[in-house]
């Protein structure tokens, strides 16, 4: 169900996204060079990705399959026949003077991806116009600081496979755009299609935005579409779109400029300044002279190949949210939180839940203690030192009543700090399970020492027994408060 975005503005923000995702292949799209990030400049190159005379491209099947996986997960139709086109333009980081891309026959089209706000603020099914495959360009580094205005070119990235995902203008707020991007990233990471690391440039977003403004007479004014570039985090996307929507509204109020009356504009997001700025008109008016690349042969895709890729996809996040909630009897909200943390955390959770035997308990520990720690440390679950068996050991001791949850948390922290086992930490803290006889003796002593509380309990104020717990803990820090309370009440009632 699509709900209208909660909005206080006198307009609707209409947003479409263009996302470039680097595929997680070992080698480049048309040659055998490594795609690993961070190597010294121009060390992962060969005649093909350098565009030397006489070099020829050969398509990387692995890249095509990964791209197909992404397209299928986005519910796209896979074309039985697709081809490669050259996009011609001059730039020093584009060694051939053209980029091999797909123009009029992309390998997939017509899909969708839905994002549901777990708090119910919105649910938006966003149409995918097309997903196509292309090669990346290199990187230009402008050495302006040196005063020489030299530009250095690193071609390690040139030829890396990129998936371009183009959405319909179906998003209705900057918040939705950010949430949708999170969902897209989650999906692609789950599939192993891309690491979607924006810092390393594995995921890049451009946004097209304009406003539909309701006039008092009921007619709708549409502002000119603006493409926003240079956003390097999802947070930037949200901020840039928020800024741009407000800017367009101000401009419309000032000038009344409407869609179709002025050409599409490109604006760059200036993150530190928090504004979008118009880019030079020249940079946008390109004629790329697309034509089919005669060095490559068209690609045909059979139903059997599609079926093979589909079978290798595993559960996507949307399905996993439902199955996780049902399998472990946890709330949809909890399932959402866990799934959004990624496949590794879900695996940790399922291991833990199996050992603990209770999904809800495992989920609580994971969300309250483990996730908090991961956030504080900036770590991923794979690197978390307390593995599911150790955490299950700790939770089991709490469940058996060896000690209470807050004591359990202290042990959790101590295990984390010391790297020792749960049993070791329990022993070193002098925590020992309090036997029944010992507990009854202690409670009897407390009753004897606190006639006022005894009288209150006998008078029907059972909650007065809580006053005994602090004293009990002073006498023996290992006692379980709940057990002390219950035993005391039982003894008093039996008096």
């Amino acid at each position: 169900m699509t709900k209208p975005a909660a909005t206080s503005e006198p307009y609707t923000t209409v947003i479409g996204l263009e996302v470039h995702v680097q595929l997680q292949t070992n080698t480049k799209l048309f040659c055998g060079c490594s795609t690993k990030f961070g190597a010294p400049p121009n060390t992962q190159v060969c005649p093909v990705c350098l565009g030397l005379p006489g070099s020829l491209p050969v398509m990387n099947r692995e890249a095509f399959q990964l791209a197909m996986k992404a397209a299928l997960a986005l519910e796209c139709r896979i074309a039985p026949f697709t081809k490669w086109d050259r996009k011609n333009y001059f730039y020093p980081d584009l060694p051939k003077g053209y980029q091999i891309s797909q123009f009029d026959l992309p390998f997939s089209s017509d899909g969708w991806l839905e994002v549901v706000d777990p708090k119910g603020a919105f649910a938006r099914k966003v149409g995918i116009i097309r997903v196509h495959l292309e090669e990346d360009a290199g990187k230009s580094m402008h050495d302006e600081a040196a005063g020489t205005a030299d530009t250095r070119i690193d071609l390690n990235r040139a030829g890396t496979p990129l998936c371009e995902i183009v959405t319909q203008p179906d998003l209705r707020s900057p918040q939705e755009a950010r949430a949708w991007l999170n969902e897209l990233k989650l999906l692609l990471v789950y599939l192993g299609v891309s690491d979607c690391n924006m810092q390393e440039g594995s995921l890049r977003v451009d946004a097209n935005v304009n406003l539909h403004i309701q006039r008092p007479d009921g007619s709708v004014a549409k502002t000119p579409i603006v493409e926003i570039k240079n956003m390097n985090s999802f947070r930037s996307v949200e901020r840039a779109l928020t800024y741009e929507a407000a800017r367009q509204y101000d401009e419309w109020q000032a000038t009344g400029a409407e869609l179709g009356k002025i050409p599409k504009q490109t604006r760059g997001w200036d993150d530190p300044a928090g504004v979008t700025r118009a880019q030079r008109h020249k940079e946008e008016s390109s004629d790329y002279r697309y034509f089919p690349d005669p060095d490559l042969v068209p690609v045909t895709v059979s139903e059997a190949q599609i079926a093979t890729v589909k079978a290798s996809m595993g559960e996507p996040p949307t399905v996993l949210r439902t199955t996780l909630a049902e399998r472990w009897k946890i709330s949809a909200y909890d399932a959402d939180v866990l799934v959004n943390q990624g496949r590794e955390l879900v695996a940790y959770f399922e291991d833990l839940a199996t050992r603990v035997g209770e999904g809800k308990v495992a989920s609580n520990w994971l969300q309250q203690d483990v996730l908090r720690t991961l956030n504080e440390r900036g770590e991923a679950i794979e690197a978390f030192p307390i593995r599911p068996d150790a955490l299950a050991d700790l939770i089991g001791r709490v469940q058996r009543g060896d000690f209470d949850t807050s004591r359990g948390r202290e042990i959790f922290a101590a295990v984390l700090a010391s790297g020792r086992s749960v049993a070791d930490v329990v022993a070193s803290l002098g925590i020992a399970a309090v036997g029944d006889d010992e507990l009854i003796a202690l409670c009897k002593q407390l009753i004897a020492e606190n006639p006022k509380i005894v009288a209150d309990v006998q008078g029907g104020k059972e909650q007065a027994a809580a006053g005994l717990i602090g004293q009990a803990k002073k006498k023996n820090p290992n006692v379980n408060p709940a057990k002390v309370r219950q035993t005391c009440v039982d003894l008093i009632k039996a008096m």
Binding site: P47, L50, G51, L52, P53, G54, S55, L56, P57, V58, M59, R86, N88, F90, P92, P95, K96, G97, Y98, A149, I153, D287, R289, Y290, F291, P294, D295, L296, V297
Partner: protein, 493 residues
């Protein structure tokens, strides 16, 4: 024994048998290069030392009883459009002056693996664009039959060096006739194989969907010998055909009885030199005498071949040559002077302006224009449609005949400078050859007579896809029945 007078087949046999050493063989040809090439200009680079060293190594291996490759000791000249690891590769352009590729073209690698000896790199029209060799940035090649005339192009250096016995065999490339036309004008035999038969990897691209490497030699039998080595599937060329390579040399013996050769009436339209027409008619008669039958066939769209070619080839070239931008390798202009939109734009404009010759610029502009928004459908897309019709014409014709015969070019070798002021007249030298490339099939050109003035006349046979065995067999049979291919230019003897 005069090695320069022997066929490639005989040279290889003589070296194998020990009647001739590889060093003696290469020295004989290098001597002729030293003596003759000053007036012909067929070579852009002669690798005297490298060739002698390779030949000496081959002789040493033979002496030690080690196995030798199929072309052991055979000198081969290579068109400068093919990349060679240890030799400059310039495509006869200032743009690539001094460029040394870090790899061998697949063809060059196969030649080396077969123990052929690379003599050097041959002159050509700049980036293979031209039909006279006058577009070389390093001076035109002269036709050995008449030094005042053009050898044809673009593989003019390869054709001239074989015609002048400076190499028994040369490698050319053919995008619209660039092997067959100069072979015809220089009186040698040149084969343009089916598209994809020889890997294009390492061939500096002019028009990727049309370019094809092929052998040029004094006879069809010599072409068969070389094709056996350079043909074959290359997994690193996506357009290379994954089809086994026949033993071309062993398929030459069969007689031509029952062979159906098509004759295209349009080939005799206006513009065909009468002496060329006469030579072609006599060639048909030779084939008839050998047991073949001649049939009239139609190639209704072939007349659109030249305009179609001059859209598709420049479109692809405009993109293929974009990489020569001064940023990475090749020519870059000197210190920037300003006066352009930006230093980058100046670097591009001046580097390309200085590096490319006028014909290359003309074709880049043609192609850029034809691919531009608003013109694409009218030009490039229309040309692709016509190309499909031409290909279909050939398929239809080859239902009725086995091969199609006719002239290679309308006239014998023309004077240097005769057509340089008229690009359109120059484009028409490809009239009989471009359709072969557009259809992706194969063709062979060989001498079928001489004009009164002593210039060679060429005959062309075209065949269906992968009909190289038949093309070579027919041309070889013709050469067993005639001696045109054995004549040598007097001027340079």
């Amino acid at each position: 024994m005069q090695p320069a007078e022997l066929s490639a087949v005989d040279l290889v046999a003589a070296i194998r048998q020990g009647d001739l050493t590889a060093v003696q063989c290469i020295e004989a040809f290098l001597d002729r290069v030293a003596r003759l090439d000053g007036s012909i200009n067929a070579f852009l680079k002669v690798d005297r030392e490298g060739a002698l060293a390779t030949a000496a190594a081959i002789d040493a291996r033979r002496k030690a009883g080690q196995p030798l490759g199929a072309l052991a000791g055979l000198p081969v000249a290579v068109k400068d459009a093919l990349c060679t690891r240890d030799l400059p590769t310039t495509c006869a352009s200032k743009m690539l002056a001094g460029f040394r590729p870090p790899y061998d073209a697949d063809t060059v690698a196969r030649l080396r693996a077969a123990d052929a000896v690379i003599v050097g790199k041959t002159n050509m029209d700049e980036f293979a664009m031209g039909g006279s060799n006058e577009n070389s940035a390093f001076g035109p090649v002269k036709n050995p039959w008449d030094l005042s005339r053009a050898p044809g192009g673009s593989s003019g250096g390869s054709a001239a060096c074989v015609a002048a016995d400076m190499a028994p065999v040369a490698i050319g490339s053919d995008t619209g006739g660039s092997i067959r036309q100069p072979a015809g004008l220089c009186g040698i035999t040149g084969l343009k194989p089916t598209y994809g038969r020889v890997s294009r990897r390492g061939l500096v691209a002019f028009a990727s969907s049309l370019d094809q490497i092929g052998p040029m030699a004094r006879s069809a039998a010599d072409c068969a010998l070389v094709l056996e080595t350079i043909a074959g599937h290359d997994p690193l060329d996506s357009t290379s055909l994954a089809v086994d390579v026949p033993r071309y040399t062993e398929l030459l013996e069969q007689p031509l009885t029952g062979l159906r050769i098509g004759r295209v009436r349009d080939h005799y339209a206006e513009g065909l030199d009468p002496e060329v027409g006469k030579g072609v008619d006599e060639a048909f008669a030779v084939f008839e005498a050998a047991g073949a039958t001649i049939h009239e066939v139609e190639l209704p769209h072939a007349k659109y071949g030249v305009p179609t070619y001059y859209l598709i080839a420049p479109c692809e070239a405009s993109s293929n040559l974009a990489r020569y931008d001064g940023a990475h390798y090749g020519h870059r202009c000197d210190t920037l002077r300003g006066g352009f939109d930006s230093p980058l734009v100046e670097m591009y404009c001046r580097s390309r302006g200085e590096g490319f010759g006028p014909e290359v610029k003309r074709r880049i502009m043609l192609g850029t224009y034809a691919l531009s928004a608003g013109y694409y459908d009218a030009y490039y897309a229309k040309a692709l449609t016509v190309r499909r019709l031409i290909r279909q014409d050939y398929l239809d014709a080859f239902e009725r005949v086995d091969l199609i015969g006719g002239p290679v070019s309308a006239t014998p070798a023309f004077k240097l400078g005769e057509k340089t002021g008229d690009p359109l007249a120059m484009y028409l030298v490809d009239l009989y050859t471009v359709a072969t490339n557009l259809a992706g099939v194969g063709g062979i050109s060989f001498p079928c007579g001489f004009t009164k003035g002593g210039l060679p006349v060429g005959f062309q046979l075209q065949g269906p896809a992968l009909a190289e065995p038949l093309l070579l067999r027919a041309a070889d049979r013709f050469q067993r029945l005639t001696d045109w291919h054995l004549r040598r230019p007097k001027q340079i003897a």
